[in-house]
């Protein structure tokens, strides 16, 4: 599996693993890291690489196919759907970032961490090496 497809699985979160995979694939297509026609790892490959139940991978792929992000090619391989030829616009990518930040904002409010400190933390995190 190529480096760019190194998914990260976060057990222990309230987000089921199949949703984590879907979200990461949506982001990669939006950023143009994955483009139309590009083949995804097979269910088998990904299940073994991530040590995750194959049905979880199938579920994520199946839902993304229904959503129009992926297409099933002859045989069983999944590719990025033809309409995703280019990265999405900056505005669209920002819109995709919104739900994650909304959640963070909610957490900040509950913890009564003010905007200045929250933004400072976000800046620091952006500069950290990815996990």
């Amino acid at each position: 599996m190529s480096e760019s497809l190194a998914f990260s699985i976060n057990p222990g979160s309230p987000e089921p693993i199949y949703r984590q995979l879907m979200e990461q694939l949506r982001r990669r297509v939006a950023s143009g890291a994955l483009v139309a026609g590009q083949e995804l790892p097979s269910v088998r490959e990904l299940a073994l690489a991530l040590a995750v139940n194959p049905m979880t991978i199938s579920k994520a792929y199946g839902l993304l196919e229904a959503e129009g992000l992926l297409e099933r090619r002859r045989g069983l391989s999944m590719v990025v759907a033809a309409k995703h030829r280019h990265a999405r616009s900056q505005a669209e990518r920002i819109a995709l970032l919104r739900p994650a930040l909304q959640q963070a904002a909610e957490a900040a409010r509950q913890l009564e961490v003010g905007p200045r400190d929250a933004l400072e933390l976000f800046k620091t995190i952006l500069q950290e090496e990815p996990k």
């Binding site: 222990g12 299940a47 073994l48 040590a51 139940n53 194959p54 979880t56």
Partner: protein, 306 residues
């Protein structure tokens, strides 16, 4: 995902599925068993379908080991029935017995033998034996073949016990805390091996563990054991998608549940007349004073095994 699918799966022991679908790998009905005079299993119903990977969860001492052993016929139930692959457990033939692999919590190996001798011995009991696979696993998991088992580390013994269970290519694999002595890398490698079994052979797997992160990766279904019964069994992703923990004053929570026609999966009294309930509750507007939150597997464990 609708609440309907969840409530079906959440029916005790999956009774909603009775009488349909493929022959179950395991079917327990009304199983009751006491241990030292104390009831452990109390009319337990449980059904495992071919190819399912089910994580068995429950607090310490709740009877997970007893349940897994009873399922294999290693403990006599006081009441109820058990069938494996459609055969009554009491009269299981040798061919069916050979389709079962078991990794007990305490590895019961003949520790005066070497791994090579042990595997040669067990090989004679099974019609099928994947020698190359056993060899490959021994090498990959760094188990010295010619050292006395007694002198192997706890982790090596546990891995050997897993190799012994996998070599006959079982159709049903029962694992009781199989990874307690393994380090994170060893555990990950073991999980891959399980995934491969499922991919290649459609093995039915049931395993208990307290390492929830492992379970979340590999178990598509989870079963919660509490008070002698399977309290809930459902696909984990569905539980996480559909369930919310609702908290608030008891009277308001109850009124809301009634209004929505919801039966809670669990209920816990908090301080000052507040309650926390677990229910299949879609994200909708909540009445004032109620709070809903999504749950991780650990939260589900806490609510469903009390």
């Amino acid at each position: 995902m609708t609440t309907l699918t969840l409530s079906q799966h959440a029916a005790p022991g999956g009774l909603a599925l009775d009488g349909s679908g493929p022959a179950a790998s395991v079917e327990l009905r009304g199983l009751s068993l006491a241990y030292a005079g104390r009831p452990v299993l109390d009319g337990l119903d449980w059904r495992l379908l071919p190819g399912q990977v089910v994580g068995l969860l429950g607090r310490n001492g709740v009877g997970k080991t007893t349940l897994l052993e009873a399922l294999l016929g290693l403990r006599d139930a006081r009441a109820g029935s058990a069938t494996l692959f459609g055969q009554p457990l009491a009269t299981l033939d040798d061919a069916t017995r050979a389709r079962i692999g078991f990794v007990p919590q305490q590895s019961q190996l003949f520790d005066w033998l070497t791994p090579r001798q042990l595997l040669a011995y067990f090989r004679s009991f099974y019609p099928k034996w994947n020698g190359p696979k056993a060899e490959a696993l021994l090498a990959r998991w760094e188990i010295p073949q010619d050292q006395q088992i007694a002198k192997l580390s706890g982790g090596q013994q546990q891995r050997l016990s897993i190799v012994r269970a996998l070599a006959p290519e079982p159709d049903l694999l029962v694992l009781d805390e199989p990874v307690s002595s393994l380090d994170p890398i060893g555990r990950r490698d073991f999980l891959r091996e399980l995934v491969e079994q499922v991919l290649d052979r459609g093995t039915t797997v049931v395993f208990s563990t307290h390492i929830l992160s492992d379970l979340e990766r590999v178990a598509f279904n989870v079963a919660f054991l509490a008070h002698g019964k399977i309290a809930v069994q459902a696909p984990l992703a569905e539980l996480m998608d559909d369930c919310r923990r609702l908290t608030g004053p008891a009277s308001r929570v109850d009124a809301h549940l009634r209004a929505q026609g919801l039966t809670p999966l669990s209920r816990r009294e908090l301080d000052a007349g507040q309650v926390a309930v677990l229910a299949a509750h879609a994200d909708a507007t909540l009445p004032e004073g109620l709070h809903a939150e999504r749950l991780s597997l650990e939260d589900l464990f806490a609510e469903l095994t009390q």
